[in-house]
Symmetry: C2
Subunit: 216 residues, 2 copies
Amino acid sequence: MPSVKENATTEAEEQPLGWQAQKSAATRNLILDAAITCFIDLGYAMTTTAKISNKAGLSRGAMLHHFPSKSALIQAAVEYLHRRRLDAFRDAVSRIPADETDRIRAGINVYWQHLTSPLFVAFHELAVAARTDSELGDILYPAVDSFDQAWYETAKALFPEWEKTGDVFDLAMDLTQNLMEGMAINHMQEKDEQRAERLLTFLAKQLESMLEESNI
Amino acid sequence: MPSVKENATTEAEEQPLGWQAQKSAATRNLILDAAITCFIDLGYAMTTTAKISNKAGLSRGAMLHHFPSKSALIQAAVEYLHRRRLDAFRDAVSRIPADETDRIRAGINVYWQHLTSPLFVAFHELAVAARTDSELGDILYPAVDSFDQAWYETAKALFPEWEKTGDVFDLAMDLTQNLMEGMAINHMQEKDEQRAERLLTFLAKQLESMLEESNI
DNA sequence: TGATTCAAACATACCTGACTGTTTTTTAGG
DNA sequence: CCTAAAAAACAGTCAGGTATGTTTGAATCA
């Protein structure tokens, strides 16, 4: 068993007492990881409580002890996925060297890395399901807004020199987000690395020139 | 024994004898339309045979007479949807006036119209489901390839002056397709017409300049 | 013409399997 | 001991498939 390092989910405040029983939090995370893996491997629709508990390595009864219903589990999984997406993205951005010369291309690479990761696949499954599942939508859409805002703020922080470009920055971000997400979704079905690389290079050049033009 | 009975499914050629029984083709189309409507309204995952037959206005048994299994129905629905998408798209392109001055923007508008139509929503449902449903994938992917090729050929026919640009044309088409599909998928969740319009205008300008630059 | 025939179109009932949620029972920790 | 975690057994629902029954309508021949 790993040590008490793991207070993960909603333990915002300090718990000086890492109860032994608090180790059930580890089981919770185990279950939530299994749920996300199921979204990726089976798709949201074919994900059942039995499959999740099986993947997590415990019985359905045990899982229902931690999450009394499927919708409770789904809700927790959505929030867990959101947290992991945010953490992974911010972490990757923070790894960009401060003296990076081509920050635009570095930023593109970071986002592309995220979009081609399993986390985004899981998110996309949820997003599609939410279109016709209002209960899921109520849980998911706030997370979407939160991620989009964090994405926008991160980009603004990474490119302070775009500050004065105003509208151009918004247009550039819109272009980047829509193009790259479209690429990512197509990439799920047919991976063509060369074609993706060409488009990303084009996008980087394009963003450069948008910055130059508006910085006269 | 019936004389003209044979070619029921592929009545591509004129059948002077559209005997009454042949009107079952109408019922088939009714069912397939209902199936696609269900994909749009409920999503692929929540579409059941009962829901489809109900939407079509007949009993499940009656439907099972025309399509002996669910997968047979799905297969027919995929092909039907593909046909309707192709027809609608080609028809819309053919309606672009020959003397249209801004053919690029007209082409963009036609494709955007398609991407925001229910047919594309239904297609996207199928595409997502196919990722984790290989049986569906086997049916869907050939249709995808067919549509993509038709899209590419249509674009080449619409813009003959790009003929000599070679790679630039391919890049422009890649950009257009990925960007607009990304926009369309985001558009399903949150419709922001103004933002879409801005991006489409930008894309049109961008394509213009790509053409100019390579036509020196 | 009109009665008979026969297959297709349509409908009803039931069976099986899977999924969710509840309840009950066992195991382990403090 | 006593409480929480884990497992197992049970029940209700719903989906898809099969089997069988009913209607319709066109073709055939007296």
